[in-house]
Every structure is written in C-alpha cells, then in structure tokens.
Subunit: 307 residues, 2 copies
C-alpha cells in the first residue's frame, strides 16, 4: 500500500488502512509524511479537543464518558492518548485502554496511544499528525488525551482547537504550583469528582485566579463545569460548553493561531534532532576539563548550525 493509496482508502473510511497509516505516523516515517501531505486538504472538519490535567484527575474516565456522549449523538470519535516516552508506561497504557474496552468493538471509535522513545522530541508532532489523519478520515471529534503531566504533554494538549483542563478537589498543599504552569492553557475547566468535599473551594480558587488574571487584562475567564466522570454526571453540559467555546471563536483566526503554535512545536522537535551529537560531546568534555566555558561552546555550536 503506497501513501497515495492509503490516503484514498482512509478518506473512504477504510479502518485497516487507517490503523496501518497510524503506525507509519507513530514511527515518523517518510510514508507517513507523504500521506499527511496527501490528506491535508481533507482536514479541518473535526473538532480537536485536548484533555489534560494532573495525575489522579480522572482524564481517562472523562474521555471515556465524552466518547459515550458523542457516540449517542451519532458522531464519530477518534482518541489519541499522548504518552510520555518511558518503558514504565506500559502498565498505565494498558490500564487506560482497559477502561476504554466498551468502545473497542465500535467501528466509529478509533483509539491509539502514541509514545516515543528517548527524548520527548517527536511526540508532539506525531500526536498532531495522528489527530489530522483522524480528521481526514472523517471523525467528527478527536480527543487528545495526555497521559503524563509534563510541560510537553500540556503543550501537546494545546495543539488541539479547545483545551480542557481537568482538576480535582484536594490535590495537596502545593496545588498552587501545579495550577501555576497550566491555568492559562485552559479554554474550559472541568472540575471532576465534584461530589467530593473541597469542590467548592477548588472552584473558588480557580475563580480567584481568573479574576486576578482578568484584572491584569490577560484574557477572558474560561468557563468551568463540574462533573463526576465516573458517574457520567455533567458530561452533556461539559460537551456543550466545549462546543460553545469552539463555535464562538473566529474560525480562521483560531486556525492561524493554532498553526503558528503547532509549527513552533514541530520546528523545536526538528531543531533538537538537528543538534550535532559528537560535537556536543567534544564540547562537554572540554567544559568538564575546564578548558572551555559553556558560553563559548554554545556560541561555537550555534555558529556551525545556524545560517
């Protein structure tokens, strides 16, 4: 199957071609890039929804429930779980996927975990590409779930059109810190496990931070919905608010901004891959031996790399 053939079959709804192409993309092969170029004109119809948040927030359960709700409307759902590059994750992936087993037999749900080896580089690009592929394949929603909690996963969630930040009550005494790096990325807040004590307090904290941010003129407060994902409570309302956020933006401007951000992510991946390993190693030895200082080394490496 060539990339061109795959492109035709995928747009046609061939699930086996889709699964195979997803593997090309995960492996970041030339065939995957060919394919994406071919199907790119067919993209732009799906809603790409990022689901992110700290561990224990119940992201997988929420994705599961959103999938049920979207399916009940008769729309098709693609799910991409972006997973940090670690052999330790196997258990986590398995656990997540077991929870999703209800949907495995459903031809209108496609689930794939993305992982990379070694340095994180490549995961953002591969995740976005798989989301675009699912878009081209006619899935109405693509849910991009981050399994880890690193800055990279947060950035991956931001590759979506709308980013949902999932938080839960009672996350420990420096919950302030985790919110710090992630609050701004939320287009929608989902307060999960809202039946637990502390939900009011969490909501108050979010509101306080939002009013602080709005005083400084930074942005409009993101809407917040309470859910109990494990019981399916509040899911309809959450989906409505996600769609509302999606709809009220200027579509063209949103797409341009999304692409500016996406290009930046892909370029950073590519630049990291372009760093000359052996040169880096030589400089590292010289610095460790105090023959050279790190600034001189960095300048020398950049001079050899950049125009």
């Amino acid at each position: 199957m060539t990339a061109q053939q795959a492109a035709v079959r995928i747009v046609d709804g061939d699930r086996r071609a889709l699964a195979r192409a997803a593997s090309w993309i995960e492996a970041q092969t030339a065939a995957g890039r060919e394919l994406l170029k071919a199907v790119f004109p067919q993209t732009g119809r799906a809603r790409l929804i990022g689901i992110t948040g700290p561990p224990g927030a119940g992201k997988s359960t929420l994705v599961d429930q959103l999938t049920k709700t979207i399916r009940a409307r008769g729309e098709r759902v693609g799910i991409v779980a972006a997973d940090p590059s670690s052999p330790f994750t196997r258990g986590a992936i398995l656990g997540d996927r077991i929870r999703m087993q209800d949907h495995h037999a459903d031809p209108d749900v496609f689930i794939r975990s993305m992982a990379t080896r070694g340095k994180m580089g490549g995961l953002a690009a591969a995740t976005l590409e798989l989301a675009l592929l699912l878009d081209a394949a006619g899935f109405n929603f693509v849910l991009i779930e981050t399994v880890g909690v690193g800055q990279d996963e947060i950035e991956i969630a931001r590759l979506a059109d709308v980013t949902v930040l999932v938080l839960v009550p009672g996350m420990g005494d420096d919950v302030q810190a985790i919110k710090a790096g992630t609050m701004e990325i939320a287009d929608v807040f989902a307060v999960n496990k809202a039946d637990l004590p502390g939900a009011n307090r969490l909501e108050d904290e979010i509101r306080n931070m939002q009013s602080l941010a709005s005083e400084e003129g930074r942005r409009e407060a993101a809407p917040l919905r309470r859910v109990v994902a494990s019981e399916g409570q509040g899911i309809d309302e959450l989906l409505q608010v996600i769609e509302h956020v999606f709809a009220k933006r200027s579509r063209e401007q949103m797409r341009t901004e999304a692409w500016r951000f996406r290009l930046r992510e892909i370029l950073q991946d590519r630049l990291a891959a372009a760093l000359p390993e052996s040169e880096l190693n030589e400089h590292a030895m010289r610095i460790a031996a105090k023959i050279e200082d790190p600034y001189t080394a960095v300048d020398a490496i950049l001079a050899g790399l950049l125009k």
Copy 2:
C-alpha cells in the same frame, strides 16, 4: 559594578554583589554572561542537588530540612527554586519562601527563586547559571528545587549532579502515569510522609518498577530512603545516601555527561529563540487557508534557518 568586579567580589564572599549578579542572570543579560565566563574556572566544587517530584510531595519542606542538616555540619547552602513562568505563581513563591524564613538571616544560606515570562525557554539556562554562580561563590551545596511539575522542571532538576525524586503515598489512581515520565531521572528516591499508610505500598511499587528496569538492563536501582520531612525524620540518612551517590561516580565522566545534557538544554532554548516569528506567522496563515501543508512550511523555515 562591572562583571569583572562582580566576579572578584563574589568569589571573595560579597553577598550584595552576589544578589545583584543573580538578578543579572535571571534577566539573562550580557553582564550575567560575562560574569559567568569570569567565574567559571572557580566552579566545580559544590554539589548540585536537584529536588523534584509531583505537587504535594513536600519538596519545599524537604529542602528546608536538608538545609538545616547541612548547616549543622557548618557547610554553606545555596537554594535555587525553579518556578514555571506564570503570574499565578506569586502565591506559591511567597508560600515557599515563608517556610524558609528561618534561614533568611543566615549569611551562609542564599535563597533565590527563578522564573521566566512567556514560553518556558530560558529557565533551564538561568537556573543552571545561578547554581554555577553559587558554586563559584563557595557554597558547598546548591539545592535546585523545582516548584512546578512539568517536563521542563524535571529536566531542570536533571541539570544537577544528583537528582532526588520525592514521592508520597496515596497520590491517586494514575500515580503510575506521573511516575512513568520521571522514574528514570531519580538518582535517589525520597519517600516522604513515610508515616502515612500506603508508604509500604509505594515503596513496593518503586521496587517493582526498578526490578523491571533492571531486568531490561537499563540501570542500577537508585537507592531509596524514607523521610518525614515535616518532622525532620530520616534527613541525615537521605543526605548520606545523596553524598554516597555523588562520591561513587567517576567525577570526570559525570561532569562530561552532565555538561552534554546541559549544553543540549541551553541550545534548545537558544534555537527556540532563533525561530523567525513573522515567517512562522505567514506560513501559519497559508496553512490555515489550506494554500500550504505543514510539512512544506516546516521544510521552508528550516531551510532558511539551518546551514
């Protein structure tokens, strides 16, 4: 005060010169770079210890207790708190610093929070630079505490000679996920709040993952110590194991490896800063309008940037 004057004074133990130079470094000014070049030959004597872990793990309390223990031996401690770039962090910084107020009057303890604005880029470089400055200023230990929990903060902790991963029992149902991305970076595990139920289970989980990793021949199991940081329990033992790990490595090889990693981080910062904004924007518009596909755009931008 010129950079050269500052360098002399700092190596001499002038605290005001040090505070001023720390501000240069935080602002990433040319004077800061000059200064670092000048003091670089004086570095390499301090032990740089990274303290990282999820929110609620008690990292600040642990740093506070380690500081007390090191001071009781008569050694000097520098602390760099690497904080994600967010206006929301103000509260967190304040909270952390209040906990450290016992040490504020101590001339042999120097505390500084590092933050950057906008994109995370720059925080890793600035944190490392401040740690090197404190090294040159004669602090025997530099504790690099990450306040946030993103991948970037984990990488920042890894800039240290020895990285301590702080975990606590009962972190929620996908604790697997947070461990996944971070387990490998631990040179030492600190199981904090070890008086809580679940400490045994957490220790078992860590051991299981370690034996899995060791079967695959990846690395020697990192030592683990239980502490109750809030009570000062187990801190001596933790410090001993940190020093043991530090001592048993080949110093030269360790430094080379550390510098290879550090150079990579600094270079990625610099490359991200070199991306041409207006060109990125133009391509983003073309992609949004479907005149161009993202691969063609990325290739064009890289062709203009790289040699």
